[in-house]
Symmetry: C2
Subunit: 363 residues, 2 copies
């Protein structure tokens, strides 16, 4: 009954373990710390699917030498506020922060900075990057493509990733507005959990391998696909597909990475694409100096007013209030910085396995 009962472990302890795992594979110290910081923020903000729960996947990839531990990250091409970065097949958790830094430095120099990245790998949570821009009084943007899981509207096969979009806006007294959304109707993790628990899922999340909508999670896992945000034509499924396409093109067509169904797999269980149309997967980062549009304190005050007005929206019956994007994650972060990160047994097992294979102490 309580098989999923989590164990609480401090963020610091997990971060140290993560750093040591990356060091084990020859990742330079500064990069290992950076990579662990991305995973740690995900765990702190309650986005459990993107934190240490994925460490074993990174571990697998390093073991198979599929990721370069010492990438030479270069600007392949540039023109003032825009450029393409080649991540030299490094960890996305290292290439992403580096490229995002370039976007912010460009914003310092040119008012805004826009970086499309190829030859990279999974970069963690999209909002890690948009949040960084806030420290420099900028508006931050972040997108990535991912391994195929989603069908375009009217398609019966996986062609796109869950391709997230994040953008963040700073408040004055209020926590920032942090938008971070996958362009699919639901996350793949939810399908997996429902399957494990033997539960049905809402109609509109998935199709089976024939392309029919179904409420049976196994139908998606066994060759079906996720549906885009909007689910079907009547409810705007063409819009979710278009947003996912936008992310795919900005991150991967524009940078020279593998787009659409050709994005390489992140995990061993994922299918190897039939064809390569570029290098690695792709990211896209943007940063805009708020000061180039408006006095920074004035903008932050206007964001505060926006937040307060939207919080005071008359709620529908049965709901306490309208949330502001980022609210659930801000609340989780406050709690988890005190109590630690709750890890389910499956994740504990993964980390214990890494510990055994590497000799790095865990717990």
């Amino acid at each position: 009954m309580e098989l999923d009962q989590p164990t609480l472990i401090s963020a610091e302890q997990l971060k140290e373990f993560t750093i040591n795992v990356f060091l084990h594979f020859g990742v330079p110290k500064a990069d290992a710390v950076q990579a662990a910081d991305v995973l740690s923020l995900s765990d702190l903000r309650g986005i459990d699917s993107h934190g240490v729960a994925r460490l074993h996947t990174y571990f697998d990839m390093f073991k198979l030498a599929r990721i370069n531990p010492k990438p030479k990250i270069t600007i392949a091409r540039e023109r003032k506020s825009v450029c393409t970065v080649d991540g030299d097949n490094g960890l996305g958790l290292v290439v992403g922060p580096h490229a995002n830094q370039i976007a912010m430095d460009k914003a310092d120099a040119h008012g805004s900075g826009w970086v499309s990245v190829c030859n990279t790998n999974h970069y963690g949570i999209a909002s890690y990057y948009s949040l960084k821009a806030l420290e420099r009084d900028m508006i931050g943007w972040s997108m990535t493509n991912t391994t195929k899981l989603v069908a375009p509207l009217w398609g019966a096969e996986r062609m796109l990733g869950t391709n997230p979009i994040s953008i963040a806006f700073p408040g004055l007294k209020n926590k920032p507005i942090v938008i971070d959304l996958a362009t699919s109707a639901a996350a793949y993790g939810k399908i997996e959990i429902a399957k494990r628990k033997g539960k049905k899922i809402p109609t509109g999340w998935i199709i089976n391998k024939e392309g029919d909508m179904t409420d049976q999670p196994a139908d998606m896992i066994e060759g079906g696909a996720l549906l885009p945000l909007g689910s079907q034509r009547d409810l705007g499924g063409h819009k979710g597909y278009a947003l996912s396409a936008m992310v795919d093109i900005l991150t991967s067509v524009l940078s020279g990475a593998n787009w659409g169904p050709f994005a390489p797999p992140f995990a061993l269980r994922q299918e190897i694409p039939s064809r390569s149309v570029g290098k690695g997967i792709g990211h896209f980062f943007g940063a805009m100096q708020i000061d180039g549009f408006m006095d920074v304190p004035e903008f932050k005050l206007r964001i505060d007013e926006w937040i307060e007005v939207f919080r005071n929206t008359k709620p529908v019956k049965g709901q306490k209030a309208v949330l502001i994007p980022g609210d659930p994650e801000h609340e989780e972060e406050v709690i988890r910085r005190k109590t630690g990160i709750p890890l389910i047994p499956a994740v504990i097992n993964d980390l214990t396995d890494i510990s055994k294979q590497t000799g790095i102490a865990f717990l």
Copy 2:
């Protein structure tokens, strides 16, 4: 039965009439031509709700002196690739193209250009602007906020506009990929049509004034609201709300315009907001030089490949093929440039009324 039977009128004839109507109110010739061009493209591309069907609304606004026919459009603040433009309460159809031009000129000079616009009015179709960037081998972005119609997830009242996002990418042999989507689950026009025809609408489009989902279009029109893309929490309604918030902030919080529920009305029948938090409504334009990321022909070739791969997605039963964003509009444009624009009797009546009131010949 055939009350809605349309009359075909050539785009040129409609454009000339539109230009004359704007001239009648003292709009300078070049601006009148520009404004008519935006409405005309909407009609040509089959987006009937945003073309001459709205001319009577612009006419009403001019008659009431709510729009400045001779705006002095200025850059209020700038920093290299970014700036804020004040539209001096001009027609959005004039301010929009002017500000979009600034974004493209900035992209020429700085690699990219990003313009947030306040003190403006309704700007027509979002994709008019993103399409313009293609003529200069740029990727074009366009967004606007609009009068409140949409409830945030878990809200029971109108707080946001249908806030569209457009972005366009050029192909080599193929027509461009043109994304242009309202961030609501459905367009307001569809609710109006269903009400007029006495038809039910899909659950997930609207709520009534108590915040309950309903399939009766009148429930929305009489004080209810549209739902954001995703419709409800399970299907990602929080995502559509977040995207609408993003558009509201980039266009209007950032520029000093009226955001959220305070966006001024576009039409006489719409409610006057209780409060003003800025000037007019807001737009946001972006342009990025493709050449700053990749050779232009190479990018266009990659877009062609993307289009061809996605067209060849295995379709679901009952559908011929997966569409590329922009396909229906490209097809409509080819037809309408030959046959003319089909106008329903209600629109013909509107234009005839303008003709009577102004003395400008129509038909």
